[in-house]
Amino acid sequence: MTSERRQLIRRLFLSTSGFLGFSLLAFFCIVALCAPWLAPPPAGRDPYLMPVVEWSPNPQPPSSEYIFGVAGKRNIYYGVIWGTRSAFRVGITVTVISTMFGLLVGAVGGYFGKIVDEVLMRITDIFLAIPFLVAAVVMATILGPGLDNVIRALIFFSWMFPARLIRGNILQIKEEQYITAARSVGVNHVGIIVRHVLPNSIFPVLIQASMRMGSLVITAAALSFLGIGARENYADWGGLLNYARNWMLGGGGEVLRYWYMVVFPGAAMVLFVLAWNLVGDALRDVFDPRLKV
């Protein structure tokens, strides 16, 4: 049993996507942890507010001083480094809270079944009927700017996915248990959920969560990009891209001149999301029994 599990974990790390994904994640963790040394903030200031380094509002291409260039009077390198922390903060907070809430809703629906389940699932469907980004835009507009409000908006519209997953698992297991329950006596359903359903659903939930992590970070960045996410000048990849917007759209044929405003924060974001997706992919390959062979 344990050796089997160890083997699964070995396969997880040795698969191409698992190896790449975990390495990338480790890299981002290190960047986030070492941010104060990689990009020292000015003493006594909130490190998440990107300090002004230039007085001219014009973007500047990478130089020896500002290796990723300057945008909106701010050092892009500084924003990319500290933005890693914002990305982790949004991704992890939203995923953890929405997963827990989703687990609760799904478990209640799956456990009680019948009308409770029907009602909860209808509600879930309704929440799913508004495009995620559109819903987040409305919510963020109403709540006002700030990363915390972005997090709230995202939680509000992402608990449905784990809820559905866990409900499906519970219904399936209930069906199986029904057969054995007929043979044995006195089955405690709560006990079954805690002892059988949750452990069995851990991997599907984890797989889904890591896949969702990517799209959450993208959506949060999209809000900042649109100017309704994190506060202005907050260290956040989407916010950095927001600087690029005006220059690129107004810049006519000169879009290419400002490549660095997109490429560096964009690359950070793509790699970050890619890392989570690769991890999710590897998890799925190893743990999803349907796709074995």
Partner: protein
């Protein structure tokens, strides 16, 4: 089949009611002063100390259920308030922009579903061989690309370097043609109307401008379909009826294209609804980047300028469109799967 669709239709008003409630409770967090814009039909009324009077008039301090009823009454009559961004009532602002967004969504949905299904099937047929690995990697990478990052790359490459796909909805000349009195509008979708009017130049202009956004949405969206098509094809290929088909001596081509494909398409049909949902969300970003007219860019601008009436009207509209779209998907699903059809 009948009951299946009847059931869906029965839930339709319920879902719409739910959506309106969610949106209602979201905007109830706004102050009455901010909410006034949702009720008025022209901006003159907002002048001076009228605001307080309007709040009283529309009962914006009443209990929530009364306010909800009143708001719904307005919404049903097509009064979604005044749009500061559009400088016109929200409803007509949305209706004027809808064809552009629909056009973009339609042109993107087709390649997403077609490409995703085709490549996903290919990937499954070459399971664990180099082609499969290549396709999976490009799918994961595509899936990881935020549309705004990819959109910028498309702008850089296809506009700045190659000069092929300019941003915007229409060039100045084409725009003048479309706005002229000789140009008759049939659908509101410029690609179709220009052909019906025999203006190939307008068609080419608008098609070039559509290409960039379509490319962006396609690249970001096909990955999901690919993944579903691949795994469902793999699953179907392991089914016993595939073995039965082979045991009858059928050519491999027939086994795959007839017996496997149709079954594998069932999950793809279910998620294509979700894909279109994501696609409509994506128009918010893509229309902004490519500077296009549409509900997405309308909502984005409105959100930045705190034009609440427009944001809420837009989301309500998206919700309704999606519910109707999903109904269509469900019906098409029933057409593929006889088990559902005959229920």
């Amino acid at each position: 089949m009948f009951f299946y669709i009847a059931r869906r239709l029965l839930f339709l008003p319920l879902t719409l009611f739910g959506i309106s409630l969610i949106i209602f409770f979201m905007f109830m967090r706004l102050s009455p002063e901010q909410r006034v814009a949702l009720y008025i039909t022209s901006p003159e009324r907002l002048r001076g100390d009228n605001v307080e009077r309007l709040i009283d008039l529309h009962g914006l301090r009443d209990p929530w259920h009364i306010q909800y009823g009143r708001w719904m009454g307005n919404v049903v009559r097509g009064n979604l308030g005044w749009s500061n961004v559009g400088k016109e009532p929200v409803y007509s602002a949305i209706m004027r922009r809808f064809p552009y967004t629909l056009e973009l969504a339609l042109y993107s949905a087709l390649p997403i579903i077609w490409l995703g299904t085709w490549l996903g099937t290919l990937s499954a047929l070459y399971h664990n061989r180099p082609l499969d690995h290549t396709l999976r990697i490009s799918a994961v990478v595509g899936w990881s690309f935020p549309d705004f990052v990819f959109g910028f790359f498309v702008l850089m490459i296809f506009y700045s370097i190659l000069g092929w796909f300019p941003p915007g909805t229409l060039g100045a000349e084409a725009d003048a043609v479309v706005k002229s009195s000789q140009f008759r509008s049939f659908t509101g979708m410029v690609t179709i109307d220009s052909l019906l009017n025999g203006r190939l130049d307008v068609f080419i202009d608008t098609a070039r401008r559509l290409a960039g956004p379509v490319l962006t949405l396609t690249y970001v969206g096909f990955a999901y379909i690919l993944r579903i098509a691949r795994s469902s094809m793999l699953e179907v290929l392991g089914r016993e009826y595939i073995r039965t088909a082979r045991s009858k001596g059928l050519e491999e081509k027939v086994v795959i294209n007839k017996h496997a494909r149709r079954n594998a398409m069932i999950p793809v049909a279910t998620v294509s609804g979700q894909t279109i949902i994501a696609l409509l969300g994506g128009t918010v970003i893509v229309e902004t980047i490519f500077n296009r007219v549409g509900i997405g860019s309308f909502m984005a601008t409105a959100a930045q300028q705190l034009d609440f009436a427009s944001v809420i009207g837009g989301s309500l509209f998206f919700g309704v469109i999606l519910v109707l779209g999903n109904l269509l998907v469900d019906v098409s699903y029933a057409l593929i799967d006889p088990r559902v059809r005959l229920d």
